[in-house]
């Protein structure tokens, strides 16, 4: 009940703010919000960031975006649901990539709150004491902890050893025992991977003035002839002090750069405006002033080759959103997402073409299917 009231208050606040920002009537803005949220399936935060709460915005404008609600049925038709653990469980994804010889971050440990854990070298980790000892004495100087079934970067921590203890990306200091307690105490996720910490290629660090990892999101679709096709490629750009590149529907302030598929150069970059309201195009990086347009991503050809191969290995999952880190040693697969979200293409207003490609793939299936043998 309290949660519902809080949500209603948030919605009302967003509508009030939007009405004021767009100098529009409250009723008209409310109607627009109703259509966008109820009809199109956007969340209020998402709609505010995308700038689609303006009641004077043409209805056709909405067609340039897609909500999760619109994408999900298409993904269901293209991705067999029972095979999605291969991407949605990051442990199975890791194991599959390792076996296929695909580049992934090195796995240091697996933590399962309710059961036995695993450490590199097939070490069996049972109980709190074993974990504290392992964190203290076996894990490397730097590592990443993230939920095995997480999303949107929630609960991802970049950790390094410091003065006999540990410190994470936010500057919080803790001991091995406190990290163990933290992992056991999370209500949302009960299991975590401990992985190698990767750093972006020096060119990307120079672009954004941060050592935090900035990944590219590439959405692939494999057609009926087993030919993989890239539907979208975007660089997630850290624009502020965020320790991660996640977009989280615009809440993190990070931006997305559209990548030219042939050359691997940035075409344009868009991110949320002040207060996570509306999208604005950025000509250069706000911190470093490096111009975005024409910026050449490193290892682009290698990245395309890697994804062409990987997309085929994960068949019959046909459309996957890949997160790839471009490191000094080449591209590394961070994640695959069978239920990839629309935020990166929405930021660049390119989602309609992607949805059309997915619909064509699904319709091709339906059309051929209706011609019963």
């Amino acid at each position: 009940m309290i949660g519902q009231l809080e949500r209603a208050a948030r919605v009302a606040r967003t509508v009030l703010d939007a009405a004021a920002d767009y100098d529009a009537g409250l009723v008209a803005t409310g109607r627009r919000a109703l259509r966008v949220v109820r009809g199109e399936g956007f969340s209020m935060e998402e709609a505010a960031t995308l700038g689609i709460l303006d009641p004077r915005g043409p209805a056709s404008e909405l067609g340039r975006f897609a909500s999760r609600k619109r994408l999900r049925p298409l993904q269901h038709r293209l991705n067999p649901h029972d095979l999605t653990p291969l991407t949605e469980d990051k442990v199975l994804f890791q194991r599959m990539c390792e076996r296929l010889g695909l580049p992934v971050p090195r796995l240091h440990a697996l933590f399962y709150g309710g059961a036995t854990g695993w450490g590199e070298g097939d070490v069996v980790l049972v109980g709190r004491e074993a974990w504290i000892d392992h964190i203290d004495h076996v894990l490397p100087r730097e590592f990443v902890v993230k939920p095995t079934h997480g999303h949107l970067g929630i609960l991802v921590r970049h950790i390094r050893r410091d003065e006999g203890g540990f410190v994470d990306g936010t500057g919080a200091r803790f001991t091995a025992a406190e990290l163990d307690t933290w992992m056991r105490a999370q209500p949302q996720f009960t299991s975590f991977l401990v992985q190698e910490r990767l750093y972006g290629h020096a060119a990307l660090q120079e672009l954004s003035g941060t050592t935090a990892l900035q990944t590219i999101r590439v959405v692939t679709l494999v057609n009926r002839d087993r030919v993989p096709r890239v539907l979208f490629a975007g660089l997630k750009v850290i624009t502020g002090d965020s320790p991660a590149d996640n977009l989280h529907d615009g809440k993190t302030g990070n931006a997305v750069g559209e990548i030219d598929l042939q050359s691997g150069r940035l075409i344009r970059v868009a991110g949320p405006g002040p207060g996570a309201r509306d999208l604005v195009e950025l000509r250069g990086h706000p911190r470093t002033n490096v111009p975005f347009t024409g910026y050449q991503l490193p290892f682009w050809e290698e990245t395309r080759e890697l994804l062409d191969r990987t997309a085929l290995e994960f068949l019959p999952l046909r459309t996957i959103g890949w997160d790839v880190a471009l490191t000094a040693a080449g591209p590394v697969l961070i994640e695959g997402n069978a239920w990839w979200g629309p935020a990166p293409p929405n930021f660049l207003r390119t989602t309609s073409a992607i949805v059309k490609a997915l619909e064509d793939a699904v319709d091709g299936r339906r059309a051929a299917g209706s011609a019963r043998a």
């Binding site: 599959m96 076996r99 697996l110 309710g114 036995t116 043998a373």
Partner: protein, 362 residues
């Protein structure tokens, strides 16, 4: 649970208790008391009945020789992360990862997923009914197995043999290519299926049953804190005694039995059926069809079979206790299934001893 279902369950339990009282020549009151006692030991009424535990004359101390499914599953949940459930319990996921790990598995011909794209071993993307029909007609061998990716206890399993333009199931059903696709499309229980190679038993096992049904050995593996793998002494060969198509034991109602296997030498012990129908266990010294004494059978490729289970156990860490179903074929052992919630083998083993191993971490 609806009140109707509860009432049906209560009636079923009452009927079972009355039957047990008659069978064990005991009063209904004594059987009821015993039922309450076995429930406190964690047993479901049907499981207790199938092991003969509802007999009030069985000394209460004897119950300590058995382990209920509930208690076993609680221990397994402690050593096997539930988050990795689909790694073994979805056969398509296990086939993909197990294959990449180098485990010997039945050859995969196709994956069928209702409403989504399927996969064919010849590189086909099976998107439509027409794709599937063409694939079934041209790309499948003369014999194959179709089974649900998330099936249990052999439910939904079909062994198919090509006969002209049709595929004939061992149950006698005949399918055209389109008929088979319609059958999968219309399945009420499952929405994804594997098309797999039909495996054959080693000649020694075929001689034992003369049934053609594939027999598998159920082997549990255990990885201790030090990372050493052992095989608890609860290994059994699932044996068809009649004409069953699969070797699944089910609730003892399939006409199949479990033979204990001597861990060292791979020699069989008498076959045992534990069933609610029998209200206890029934033992067979000889196979009822072929007359072969079980004690005279020594499993071929036994050392290789044990090594396969041990090697696979290491590969699937941090799952620490897995029940493997391994077929022994003319060319060696082949991994058919893995189960992280394997069933208690009270009928052939002293399960509390097995449980002791699992509890070593406590």
């Amino acid at each position: 649970m609806s009140s109707l279902v509860r009432a049906q369950k209560a009636l079923g339990s009452a009927h079972l208790l009355r039957r047990a009282a008659a069978e064990h020549d005991a009063s209904l009151r004594d059987v009821y008391r015993r039922a309450m006692l076995v429930r406190r030991h964690g047993f479901a009424l049907a499981d207790a009945a199938s092991l003969g535990l509802l007999d009030p004359r069985l000394p209460a101390a004897e119950l300590a020789r058995f382990t209920s499914t509930r208690h076993l599953q609680a221990e397994l949940a402690r050593v096997n992360p539930k988050e990795l459930f689909w790694l073994t319990e979805d056969k398509a996921v296990f086939q993909r990862l197990g294959g990449l790990m180098g485990l010997p598995l039945p050859r995969l011909f196709a994956l069928y997923h209702r409403d989504a794209t399927g996969w064919g071993h010849d590189g086909s993307m099976l998107c439509t009914r027409a794709d599937w029909c063409a694939f079934v007609e041209r790309a499948l061998p003369d014999e194959l197995v179709v089974k649900p990716a998330r099936g249990v206890k052999g439910l939904g399993f079909e062994l198919l043999r090509r006969d002209g333009d049709e595929l004939v199931s061992t149950s006698g059903r005949r399918y055209t290519a389109g008929g088979l696709v319609d059958r999968l499309e219309g399945d009420r229980e499952y929405d994804s299926f594997l098309f797999q190679e039909r495996l054959r038993n080693h000649a020694e096992l075929e001689r034992l049953t003369e049934s053609g049904a594939l027999l598998t050995v159920r082997i549990m593996s255990w990885v201790d804190r030090a990372g050493s793998v052992s095989i608890p002494d609860a290994v059994g060969l699932k044996v068809t005694l009649g004409d069953a198509v699969t070797d699944n034991i089910g609730d003892g109602d399939r006409g199949n039995a479990l033979c204990p296997v001597d861990l060292q030498g791979g020699t069989l012990g008498p076959a045992v059926i534990a069933s609610v129908e029998l209200l206890g266990c029934r033992s067979f010294e000889r196979h009822p069809r072929t007359g072969i004494a079980f004690a005279e059978v020594r499993l071929p490729f036994w050392a290789e079979t044990i090594e396969l289970a041990k090697g696979a156990a290491r590969l699937l860490l941090p799952l620490r206790s897995i029940g493997w179903d391994i077929a022994i074929t003319p060319t060696g052992p082949v991994m058919v299934e893995a189960n992280i919630g394997w069933a208690s083998a009270n009928d052939i083993a002293v399960m509390p001893a097995v449980m002791e191993q699992l509890r070593e971490d406590v």
